[in-house]
């Protein structure tokens, strides 16, 4: 009896499956898109359109055919650009995105978007209205890097780099390798959104500018932009940025330059590793932040002829380095107080460690921030001197 039922069910199931298959194939739509129907977007830029006051959205789209050609023949016909900056306008970002299809014919495919650049005018106006699309669209990834352009985002995206075929990938690469100098920092969409959601913390984003050297347009990183809530209020230059990164513990590598006051010359050190620890303390209603920094460096260059590989010289240089670091940190702190923007995240730290006191401090954070005292304790160790023990210089006579 069950066998008959089994057979009947088998036949019925196979009929149903057949019908379903026909349904799928005849209906013609099943959510797949051929790879050549995609416009692969690798970078997006948002500006203010001067004429209408709407948004000008620039999407950098890869031209796959050109990618292949330029690898082989090199140069050749046409302008050899492997990308195409297509623009669209609209009142909201999503509308502009769809307007772009008037020019491309295919929908934009933004899953491979690596950079999002906002023009400076938009940043000064406030980014809250423009960010939502980049977080909400299901194809967007939170690993996309956010940048602010010194002028217009469109110009930045038009600058064709020398060694890379695609400007957006070039920018992404530039930002990701911030560790070489630690003069700017990589901020992805998730971090930016996270800072936006905090009441106290100020978001930061790297600044990118275009230098016009004759025909070639090169891009360069020029510090960090500081936001208060979502409006850009100022900038941190390179040293200030590094000061910020010292406190956050995100310095990967860089150059510490110290000069010798009594003797002529400088010594340059490569930062090998840096760790930081911040302990917030509330003493009689006053907030003191204890910042402990431990760094390791190596002697990479010296301009004097003096032999610096001695323990006394090391101690002096370690102190000098610590002083340099402290100055960078204070520069950053002073700038942040000037802009009244808590870029360090001190408010968050207090919220986490002293949550009961935070409730009373939270509303007056702007005023309280001006009164925070920073207490630094910096220790630098010199680990190695690379290949030279003594500099290559003529021997001094023994006196």
């Amino acid at each position: 009896m069950t066998k008959k039922i089994n057979i009947k069910i088998n036949i019925l199931t196979s009929k149903l499956v057949l019908c379903l298959l026909m349904l799928f194939m005849l209906s013609g739509c099943s959510g797949g898109r051929e790879i050549n129907d995609l416009e692969i977007v690798i970078g997006m830029g948002v500006d203010k359109d001067e004429d209408t006051g709407n948004i000008l959205l620039t999407a950098q789209v890869v031209k796959e055919g050109e990618m292949e050609k330029s690898s082989g023949s090199g140069g050749g016909g046409g302008d050899g650009k492997a990308f195409w900056n297509v623009t669209g306008t609209g009142e909201s970002v999503f509308e502009s995105v769809r307007q772009i299809t008037h020019k491309t014919g295919n929908r934009l495919f933004v899953s491979h978007n690596h950079v999002i650049i906002f023009g400076k005018d938009l940043a000064s106006e406030g980014l809250q209205k423009y960010i939502d699309f980049f977080l909400r669209a299901h194809e967007m990834r939170p690993t996309a890097i956010i940048l602010i352009a010194e002028g217009r985002a469109l110009d930045v995206m038009n600058a064709k780099p020398e060694t890379e075929k695609l400007p957006a990938m070039n920018i992404a690469k530039l930002v990701k390798t911030y560790g070489f100098t630690s003069h700017f920092y990589k901020v992805n969409m998730k971090d930016f959104a996270s800072c936006l959601m905090c009441d106290s913390r100020s978001p930061i984003a790297p600044l990118v500018g275009v230098s016009k050297d004759g025909d070639n347009k090169d891009i360069y990183m020029s510090g960090m932009a500081v936001f208060k809530n979502d409006k850009m209020v100022g900038r941190l230059n390179e040293d200030e940025t590094r000061g910020l990164l010292w406190v956050l513990g995100k310095v990967k590598s860089g150059v510490l330059l110290i000069s010798f006051p009594n003797k002529q010359g400088k010594a340059a050190f490569e930062i090998l590793e840096a760790k930081s620890k911040v302990i917030p303390e509330i003493k009689d209603g006053k907030i003191v932040m204890h910042v402990k920094i431990k760094a390791e460096s190596s002697l990479s260059e010296q301009t004097t002829a003096e032999d610096l590989a001695t323990i006394e010289a090391f101690e002096k240089m370690q102190k000098a380095q610590a002083e340099v670091i402290r100055q960078e940190i204070m520069a950053a702190f002073d700038k942040s107080r000037e802009l009244n923007a808590d870029v360090f995240g001190f408010g968050e730290m207090i919220r986490k460690k002293h949550s009961n006191k935070w409730k009373s401090l939270k509303d007056k954070w702007d005023e309280i921030y001006q009164t925070i005292e920073l207490n630094t304790d910096i220790e630098v160790k010199i680990q190695k001197t690379d290949l030279l023990k003594k500099p290559a210089s003529p021997k001094k006579e023994e006196k």
């Binding site: 099943s30 959510g31 797949g32 692969i40 890869v62 055919g65 495919f109």
Partner: protein
């Protein structure tokens, strides 16, 4: 209406007519042989009158040529030398060496066979049908006038291939002999490897017209008697005209005829079959084919090869993992490619996506059509390659490379990455020979699912395949054992091959007596010589 009724009536009458006919070759009634030689010869000549290679030789033998005898044999099958030397000569000449007054009564067939015939393989026959069967099987029939029985003497000369290396299962290390079309040679090869009195060889005769010899080979106290009983039952159930190859038997006794996965394994190599018999399985050997069947089959057996056990465990384990990976690639390769490039482009790194897109610029087909065309072409090529005569074999390689490769890409019909995907799929499909057919079919199914619903379809297909495999049984043992009914101790031999000295128990799914399951004593790990070995002191 009337046409329908007339059709029904005709159908019923035909059915009755067919039922009344004998379905066996019962042209010969089951009557005994008569004592009259002439009558016997007439009957046999009547039955076999259309075969011109049946030879009837009448002769007289005994002292004073008292007895009349006749030899019947099939010309093409009999070993004439044997007949002359060992049947006719003793009967006609050497009998004269016996004393005349011993007076042996040669109308009793027993006397003849015990005293005169110098061939060992003889059998007494009583029924005429038996006589015909033995005659057609190649025996020489001795009839004596006045005897109520006949003697069947097996004196065949059978032409068969020598023992050669099997074409389908080449190994680097291990014995290179393979089974033969002559089942006696095959059994001899097995007997040479197992010299145990518990080795049982049961004979069956299947096929109404072919009367093929089928043997079940197993070891008595190791194999499960219920398994053997089940095999016997299933073999008895087969009623067919002829068994031409073991594949016929496989298709009649398998557990899941509608499944694409085989539940009966086959092999040409005696060492492989013997090792399976030693684990408690039963082998089925069929005359006329070198492929022996072994039941029950587990899925992981398709990934094991004899070489794994003859070499050291490290490379063998890696090779086994590579085989698993190859199977997965061969079944899922095109499907994953289509799913990724059509549905889930966000899951590929950007550079790769750009390269693929660049390669697919000029291709006019959608990805799934391209993929299925390529796989189909590869299957055509493979099939043609098997059938081509050796002289033209080189052409296939060249044509294949040209058609499937360069020319198509240059013409813009397919993209270069598609060529890579299909070639790796194709090569990977040969790494696991036992599952080639299931791999080929699964490839098409997954490709269709990927084209319909992308990654989701592939996942659902994989789940359905897993459930199907988990519910299959091969003669009572679960097909995915030891992975699915999880058995840790037997996992030593699935994905990796642990050293031989760890595998001291037989796999518990196939044995009869689990308590007495040791096939080697535990603790056999080799170690260097412990005592002082002399040398320089």
């Amino acid at each position: 209406m009337f046409r329908y009724i007339s059709k029904v009536i005709r159908y019923l009458s035909l059915k009755n007519k067919n039922a009344s006919q004998d379905t066996t070759t019962g042209k010969v009634n089951n009557e005994p042989i008569s004592s009259d030689l002439k009558r016997n010869l007439e009957v046999i000549k009547g039955i076999l009158r259309d075969s011109s290679d049946v030879t009837f030789h009448e002769f007289n033998f005994g002292h004073d040529r008292r007895f009349k005898g006749a030899l019947i044999f099939i010309n093409s099958l009999a070993d004439k030398n044997e007949i002359h030397k060992n049947i006719l000569q003793p009967l006609m000449y050497d009998v004269l060496l016996l004393k005349k007054d011993a007076n042996m009564d040669f109308t009793k067939i027993d006397t003849v066979s015990k005293n005169l015939i110098s061939i060992t393989d003889t059998q007494k026959l009583v029924l005429a049908s038996d006589l015909i069967d033995h005659l057609l099987a190649g025996a020489t029939i001795l009839l004596v006038d006045g005897a109520k029985e006949a003697l069947a003497i097996k004196s065949q000369k059978v032409e068969h291939r020598g023992i050669e290396e099997p074409g389908t299962e080449a190994v680097v290390r291990g014995p290179r002999e393979g089974f033969n079309e002559n089942v006696n040679v095959s059994i001899a090869l097995i007997r040479r490897k197992i010299k145990d009195p518990d080795l049982c060889i049961e004979k069956f005769n299947i096929g109404e017209r072919s009367k093929t010899d089928v043997y079940i080979v197993y070891i008595k106290n190791v194999a499960n008697p219920k398994l053997i009983e089940e095999i016997r039952e299933r073999l008895d159930r087969i009623k067919i005209d002829a068994i031409l190859e073991s594949g016929y038997i496989e298709q009649f006794i398998e557990d899941a005829p509608y499944s694409i996965f085989p539940t009966v394994s086959n092999s040409e190599k005696p060492d492989k079959v013997v090792s399976k018999i030693l684990e408690g399985r039963a082998a089925i050997l069929v005359d006329g084919t070198p492929f022996a069947l072994v039941v029950p089959m587990l899925f992981i057996e398709s990934f094991q090869s004899g070489e794994d056990y003859y070499s050291r465990p490290f490379l063998a384990s890696i090779m086994r993992l590579i085989r698993f990976l190859s199977y997965i690639i061969s079944a899922l390769g095109p499907a994953i490619y289509v799913a990724l490039t059509v549905f889930h482009q966000e899951l590929m790194p950007t550079q790769l996506l750009i390269s693929i897109a660049a390669g697919r610029e000029r291709v006019p087909f959608p990805a799934i059509l391209e993929a299925s065309l390529m796989i189909f072409t590869f299957d055509i090529l493979r099939e043609a390659g098997v059938r081509l005569p050796k002289a033209v074999g080189q052409t296939v390689g060249i044509v294949g490379a040209l058609v499937l490769g360069q020319a198509s890409v240059e013409a813009g019909l397919i993209s270069p990455i598609m060529v890579i995907v299909v070639s790796s799929t194709a090569i990977a499909s040969f790494a696991v020979p036992a599952q080639t057919d299931s791999g080929t079919i699964l490839r098409y199914i997954y490709l269709a699912l990927a084209g319909l619903a992308g990654g989701f379809g592939v996942i659902m297909g994989l789940l359905a395949t897993l459930l199907h495999l988990a519910s299959l049984r091969s003669f009572g043992t679960p097909y995915l054992w030891p992975i699915v009914p999880l058995n840790f101790s037997s996992l030593k031999d699935t994905f990796i091959r642990m050293p031989l000295w760890t595998m001291s128990k037989r796999p518990s799914a196939v044995v009869w007596d689990e308590s007495d399951n040791y096939r080697q004593s535990p603790g056999l790990m080799p170690s260097p010589y412990k005592k002082d070995s002399g040398g320089s002191k």
